[in-house]
Symmetry: C2
Subunit: 233 residues, 2 copies
DNA sequence: CGACGAAATCGAACGGCGTGCGAGTGCATT
DNA sequence: AATGCACTCGCACGCCGTTCGATTTCGTCG
């Protein structure tokens, strides 16, 4: 039993906010700004310290390490998710709404995409959202573990659809793209796959953002239909 | 038009393997070993060089930068995905099989979870899998963009379900866990959410791995049912 | 008011990282 | 023997997270 313990900010009592010093909230909020504007790689303790007119190492007074800072920032974005009471709008609309909201939040804070596979969502905001989603599926008629299964399914769909979307956006934003060159290159890649190439050509003239939105809708309806099918049985 | 171009290993001609020097394959395979055994953070150019009895910077002869190395390694795991010909087993079984396969591959190479949100899957193996999946959905009866939508939906589900699973595994493996302490801590977290707490207690006595497998099955069936419902209409 | 202890800050330093650069080596061809 | 290409690598730069111990700030109490 000598290994490192599982640790998380949420498992420790936060430092009392007694003194007049900086506060955790201040730090996290500055970190969020940095994350939103420069991405996950753009957040360093030194930069963050500079932004707060503080030394980099001062921050370690408020959190054990950078991972804890990320946990705090991560939960902050969970706080942006909009949830409607399923008792009022019905479980399906409530589930739809939270799905759209999750996608929007991730697209607004692309750096979260990198954290989903790294951090457990145990913060207060994440718990609140989870609890509300469970209530939706409970109201729908799921029971026992199936409540969590349904919830996991919907969440998985949204994450899985949005995370690669972020990857694509990143690749695009990484620099202005010589569209002609790119298209020609990708054409070369998909040579040998006639179906893929045909599809690529067809999609070329559509608005990519609109296509992705349609795709998300299509999948969301499918997932919800599939879940609903579990109920009538 | 002075920005950095979108770049990817796949968009450049590979260096000719003329001389007797090291080869890309050798390097990528060593990188895979390092990634599997030590995770994404455990792969550094210096360590990789050492493993190959080479200087770290020698590797830059074979690839432009570390990102390209990751692209190569990433596509390598796509090569492990098992695909069945949908013409023989039917589209639904083919889709199921590839879903299970994807999950297994990701669990076997947890570091991929971090790359899904960062790299575009443009390698030859990824393209092959994508093309086969499209054939499944084409055979099922989808047409036009809906082929890609259905494909994206299934893929999203698998990724979204598996990526957080990896996160959980990582947290657990990070150190031996004092289970009692952990449970007590989490209990404290979910206080205020009676439903969550009840569920936590119920799940405590189940085998987590078995529960996750059940969850995956549940969601997969739901997603496939939902997609099938798009067809009859 | 002065002193004391706790709260909070910070500079220096350590070990690690990706990678640009230019000097160096070995080898096939002329 | 000389040329030129394929390949290797040591050095250095500027980042990074984090530790440590010295230092400053400040509320409180005598």
């Amino acid at each position: 039993m000598t290994g490192k313990q599982f640790s998380s900010v949420w498992l420790r009592e936060p430092r009392k906010a007694t003194g007049p010093g900086r506060s955790r909230e201040e730090i996290v909020s500055a970190a969020l700004e940095l994350l939103d504007s420069e991405g996950l790689g753009g957040l360093s303790m030194r930069k963050l310290g500079a932004k707060l007119d503080a030394g980099a190492t001062s921050l370690y007074w408020y959190m054990a390490n950078k991972d804890e800072l990320l946990e705090l920032a991560y939960d902050e974005v969970w706080g942006e998710m909009v949830i409607h009471a399923p008792e009022e709008v019905g479980w399906r609309d409530a589930a739809s709404a939270v799905a759209y909201s999750m996608r929007q939040v991730i697209l607004r804070h692309p750096w979260t995409a990198d954290l989903i596979g790294r951090l457990a969502a145990l913060g207060p905001n994440a718990l609140r959202v989870t609890d509300q989603m469970r209530r939706s599926f409970s109201l729908a008629g799921f029971e026992g573990m199936e409540i969590d299964f349904a919830n996991a399914t919907l969440t998985a769909y949204v994450f899985g659809m949005t995370i690669p979307e972020v990857a694509w956006n990143n690749a695009m934003a990484q620099g202005q793209i010589d569209e002609a060159t790119l298209r020609e290159s990708v054409e070369r890649l998909v040579s040998g796959y006639p179906d893929l190439r045909e599809r690529l050509r067809a999609n070329t003239y559509e608005d990519p953002q609109a296509v992705r939105a349609m795709c998300f809708d299509f999948g969301l309806v499918s997932v919800l239909d599939g879940l609903e099918a579990r109920l009538v049985r």
